[in-house]
């Protein structure tokens, strides 16, 4: 690919999704964008960039952006965050929200659904204790293709073998040939909609728990900082943010502080707004 064409793609991706493509990663463009080139009936990436220049077609730009996302995910990814959610974070929030009985959870890079569905299964297991509670789980992603797959809730043997405890498979999945179909009762616990983390999330509402896992790694520091800043604004001061195993807020944003004794989870710093439940409690 010509150097100036590489730069066009690099700029386009940075602008549209935050993705940083260093010159050493140029090979990724080749492998992931060739299918897009074929779809748009051009020979190679230089021709694809020519098409971008000529048309500025929104659908083409979206195809390029989506093709460059890394969508890898798994059920109960890394195990620990979900154990921690079940045994520490959820009981604590249930206590703090005891009068309101309402929780909102946001999976901000939901990919093909394994993360929100893992949470939904954990919550479903707790349904006796959570009787009378309203729990909303919102899964968003830049890529509409992964969201379609998430909504379908159909997974391969390979996918259900990664991280999903066998007892959950037996309880919550039905088999159809070599495919595994997630039960409607879990699927209907999660709503999906497209959302780009580079945009203002205010319209999504407020969230007690945010999973922002394995996505910040693709962005540069200013983008990481502004995303964390916008997410913090949606959270009450006792809300909890989950990042991926290789991600941190240290040296990037002071809008979150680590939760003592708990690895990988963070809470908004005190200048964030308190929850309405918090305000209520303080008034008594």
């Amino acid at each position: 690919m010509q150097a100036d064409n590489f730069e066009v793609l690099q700029k386009l991706l940075k602008q549209r999704s935050g993705l940083v493509v260093s010159p050493e990663k140029a090979y990724l463009l080749e492998s992931r964008l060739m299918p897009v080139a074929r779809k748009w009936s051009v020979k190679g990436l230089d021709e694809l960039v020519a098409l971008v220049r000529a048309k500025r077609d929104e659908k083409l730009l979206q195809d390029i952006t989506e093709a460059m996302t890394t969508n890898e995910s798994s059920f109960f990814r890394d195990t620990r965050p979900f154990d921690q959610f079940k045994s520490v974070v959820l009981p604590q929030l249930m206590e703090q929200r005891a009068s309101r009985r309402h929780l909102r959870i946001w999976c901000a890079a939901a990919s093909t659904g394994q993360e929100p569905y893992s949470l939904a299964m954990v919550l479903h297991e707790e349904r006796v204790r959570m009787n009378g509670w309203r729990v909303e789980i919102l899964g968003t992603d830049l890529s509409t293709e992964v969201l379609d797959k998430a909504r379908d809730g159909v997974y391969s043997q390979f996918e259900i073998q990664r991280g999903l405890p066998i007892t959950y498979l037996v309880k919550y999945f039905r088999q159809d040939g070599d495919k595994w179909l997630l039960s409607p009762e879990i699927r209907q616990m999660v709503d999906y909609r497209p959302f780009n983390l580079l945009e203002d999330p205010t319209a999504l509402g407020r969230f007690d728990i945010v999973f922002l896992r394995n996505v910040l790694i693709y962005f540069d520091r200013p983008d990481k900082a502004s995303i964390l800043g916008r997410v913090a604004k949606l959270m009450p001061s006792d809300g909890v943010l989950y990042l991926g195993g290789a991600e941190t807020v240290f040296g990037i944003s002071d809008r979150f502080k680590p939760v003592e004794g708990q690895r990988g989870i963070y809470q908004p710093t005190s200048d964030a707004e308190p929850s309405s439940a918090g305000r209520q409690a303080a008034a008594f």
Binding site: T79, R162, G163, P165, I166, F173, Q175, D178
Partner: protein, 121 residues
């Protein structure tokens, strides 16, 4: 060091599984069928058992049921590892006392993941 008994009638599968488990720092023993596995467990009860289903002499489920009746037979974590990949088989294995279930083909990631889930790692 934790111990794991690999029970499979295929020498190749035993070899591959042993290599993966040794990398996860298990001391491994092998058995070719359920009968050999019983003999082994009567002498030393392993911490973990990676167990095939279809084997001559005594199959995996027969062995598992017998194992769970033995003194200390409830202790080993048993992970089925088999080509049987339908829900009925999985349910049967769970009710016979399996802790986890791997559908072949397997790789080191799956074994590590399942061993973590049952608390062996």
């Amino acid at each position: 060091m934790k111990t794991c008994l690999v029970v499979d009638d295929s020498r190749v599968v035993r070899k591959v599984a042993r290599k993966i488990l040794e990398e996860l720092e298990f001391a491994c023993d092998e058995a070719e069928d359920g009968k050999q596995a019983m003999d082994h467990c009567m002498v030393t009860m392993p911490d973990a058992i990676l167990l095939d289903w279809n084997m001559p002499v005594m199959n995996g489920i027969e062995f598992l049921r017998a194992l769970r009746q033995m003194t200390h037979g409830a202790e080993p974590k048993v992970v089925l590892c088999t080509t049987e990949n339908d829900l009925n088989h999985i349910q049967e294995a769970l009710s016979a006392g399996a802790n986890e279930y791997i559908m072949k083909p397997f790789d080191s990631d799956i074994i590590q993941n399942k061993f973590e889930q049952v608390g062996l790692l």
